[in-house]
Amino acid sequence: MDYVLPLTELIEQFRRFPGVGAKSAQRMAFQLLSWDKSDIHKFSDIVLRAGKDIHYCPDCFNFSTGGSLCAICTNEKRDKKTICVVSSARDLAALERTLEYKGLFHVLHGLISPMDGIGPDNLKISQLVQRLAKYSDVQEIILALSPSTEGEATTLYLTRLLKPFVSKITRLAFGLSVGSDIEQTDELTLARALEGRKDC
């Protein structure tokens, strides 16, 4: 390395982020060093606080602060009878942005994938079962997992596992993306949308 040690270390840290290669990491490090000292302090404080204060919500495993339930779980207006299962907090945020869904969530933090060494035990699945046992008035589980092989397998696993606990288990429909032209939709999505067509 041609750089002074602290800079080399900084570049190394940036390289740990997904999709960041050697060049981008260098660019980020140089950018950071060009900031005012006060901005650098602020940045490092924010990183520290994020590491210290953010933890998983003990019920739904969404991110939360202050050592307690998250904002969704404590929201009186949310429908406690419905739980939507997602694989990541990012998917949760995407569903929240729709402003359509009023129920609760459960974040698995991954999908079953033996290739990546992830089995059901590595996901927040047993916690979901415990949650259902604890709050027996849950009436519907929505499985909002991606249609990938791993998503399908996880959906199947959960369907079988959760049947004794809840009367209604649903999954998201596959369809056209709104605002896209039919002619520009790929054949497979179109075929799936055709399969999942509904009565008018």
């Binding site: 079953i112 994938s113 033996p114 290739m115 060494g117 089995g119 059901p120 035990d121 092989t149 791993e150 399908e152 397998a153 199947l156 696993y157 079988r160 054949e187 497979l188 075929a191």
Partner: protein, 397 residues
């Protein structure tokens, strides 16, 4: 309607490096004649390069990606017609990699799939490998072609292979798991595999069954000459060639299934019934899978046989019979694809004559599809092609 390649110009493509060369084609049958290593196969390869060929969608994709390599700075321009429509295809490699059809730019072969030239290629040695080689050669051919015909098949195959990988990883890590969680997880992957295996199996079966009339017809036409010639092998006119599906997991016939469905009080659907059957047989194999740390049965182990009088041509047929099988398979493929496309793709025959004597060449040429444009490379022509003079042209390299 058929696809007709009118001209192709190459610059810096393989042998044609450094200079431009253009070829005009104006006949249905084009004979490309020249000694070995003069680049007649390269011309054929360029035609193949400029086309979506029947063998494999993934290959087609890769071909266009491989233009990325800086050594492959070449340009191909192909002009062809389909019915009333004229299409100009421009491919350039290297840094300015691009694919244009009638001036419209496409990002990939897949995207341009609908517009591109379609071809079926017969390369004597490679095609013979489908008949004589290990099961994976036949499986790859079948998967490649069915994936092109049916996007659902391609999707099922991709998903099956992914689920299979996952299951194999699970088997390899089985030692670290409790018995119960291992069984729970295996059950999931078994069901995922079944979901894709059933349509794969049904598609393969249907395809091979419906291919048989065309395969038998081609085989008999080409080999009838061997009978009259009879100087190399003796073949009987009573030969009964057949493509036979050999699934790794055998299911009851559909009629049997329908019967079971009718008898079943719970009235299982046909799909459910097949899935249950598949799962039962699949799970019977679990002990072996666990012992070997891999999935030992399933769609990834399917095969099909070229049978002649119910004997497997891979083991029991003469060279001549095997060659005839390979050629008949390609002609069947052409016919099947034409059915699907509703027009005839181009047929590329690389060095087919080298392996056939004059009479068999004659039989082959007479049998060649009446609609497709056909390109034939050969080192020499023993006599004039057995077709009207206005039907063919000869290009000497």
């Amino acid at each position: 309607m058929s696809l007709f390649l009118q001209s192709i110009s190459l610059s810096r493509f393989r042998n044609y490096s450094g200079f431009n060369q253009s070829f005009n084609f104006h006949k249905q049958f084009v004979f490309i004649i020249g000694p070995n290593a003069i680049g007649k196969s390269n011309l054929l390869e360029a035609i193949q390069y400029a086309s979506i060929h029947a063998e494999n969608l993934v290959e087609n994709e890769k071909q266009l990606l491989s233009i990325n390599s800086p050594d492959d700075r070449f340009q191909i321009e192909a002009n062809y017609s389909l019915g009333e429509r004229n299409l100009k295809l421009e491919i350039s490699g290297g840094a300015s990699k691009s694919l244009k059809i009638n001036g419209v730019k496409y990002r990939s072969a897949k995207e341009a799939k609908g517009e591109m030239l379609k071809s079926v290629i017969f390369k004597a040695r490679e095609s013979l490998e489908i008949v004589r080689g290990s099961p994976n050669k036949r499986r790859d051919w079948l998967n490649g072609f069915l994936s092109i015909l049916d996007i659902h098949y391609a999707d099922c195959l991709k998903r099956f292979e992914r689920a299979l990988d996952q299951r194999n990883y699970l088997l390899k890590s089985s030692g670290y798991k409790s018995q119960q969680s291992l069984i729970d997880e295996l059950n999931i992957w078994d069901m995922e595999l079944a979901k894709y295996a059933i349509p794969l199996q049904q598609n393969r079966k249907r395809f091979l069954e419906t291919s048989n009339p065309s395969f038998q017809n081609a085989y008999r036409k080409i080999s009838s000459v061997e009978l009259t010639q009879g100087n190399e092998e003796v073949t009987s006119g009573g030969e009964n060639p057949c493509l036979k599906y050999l699934p790794s997991i055998e299911l009851n016939s559909e009629q049997d299934n329908e019967e079971t469905c009718r008898q079943n009080v719970q009235t299982l659907s046909l799909e459910d019934n097949m899935r249950n059957q598949w799962l039962e047989k699949f799970q019977n194999n679990r002990e072996i899978d666990l012992a070997r740390y891999q999935t030992t049965q399933g769609s990834h182990r399917d095969d099909f046989a070229f049978q002649i009088n119910e004997m497997d041509a891979r083991y029991y047929a003469s060279q001549g019979q095997q060659r005839t099988c390979a050629l008949s398979l390609k002609l069947t493929q052409l016919e099947k694809w034409a059915e699907h496309l509703e027009y005839s793709p181009i047929l590329l025959l690389d060095d087919v004559c080298a392996e056939l004597d004059l009479n068999r060449q004659k039989a082959l040429f007479e049998f060649l599809p009446k609609k497709s444009q056909v390109f034939i490379t050969t080192t020499h022509l023993s006599s004039l092609p057995p077709m009207p003079a206005d039907k063919y042209q000869i290009i000497n390299l």
